[in-house]
Amino acid sequence: MMENRRQVLDMLAQGKITADEAERLLSLVDQPPSATPGSKETSEAAKPAPKYLRVIINDGDGPESEHVNIRVPMGLIRAGVKLASVLPSEATSKINDKLKDHGVPIDLGKIKAEDLEELVNCLSDLEVDVQDGNESVRIYVE
């Protein structure tokens, strides 16, 4: 950081930049790296971790209409994954075989908490918004 400040002052002394430009450069040099606007790390760090999965379904406006409003905490998904780690291996393999028989080739033993955190963070961009007249379906993460 001192080196960068020195370079800015040298450029000012040589007349390569004006005083205003030097001041702007020095303020950027003094900022910590994570505070640089537009940096990927800043945008990823500023994005809050998703807390709830919302499902909102509206089927018309009349007296016989149906409305569904569900809010599921993401913690439930995390806690559910922990169950796989608690089960003994023979039980997990039996469950995997049953799932495979039903066309779901998932290995419960390979689901790790770190992978789940990455999945949950990626879900923060999930948004499903379907509208058909008075009917609507919205699925998103907040």
Binding site: S65, P73, L76, A79, V86, L87, E90
Partner: protein, 92 residues
Amino acid sequence: MMWPPSFLGFRIGNANKEFRLWLPLFLIWPLFVLLALVMLPFVLLLALVLWPSGWGKTVLFTGPWFFRMFCALRGLVIDVKSGASQVYIAVR
């Protein structure tokens, strides 16, 4: 920090009748703590007996898993309306 939910709101009904329930869950926390303390020696013994079969770890960690699931329920809202019928469940 995991913190168990404090209230449970429950409402189910239709145009003719409705059933409402509002439970202050924080009042029953001490009962659960007491029950856990009473059950702890039995759980440890059972885990020890079942450890060679591979189920000991499951027995030992089932209680903490249920507690984690219970804490994760905080914020759950289910609100379903169909005509005049409604089911509402909220855990806060």
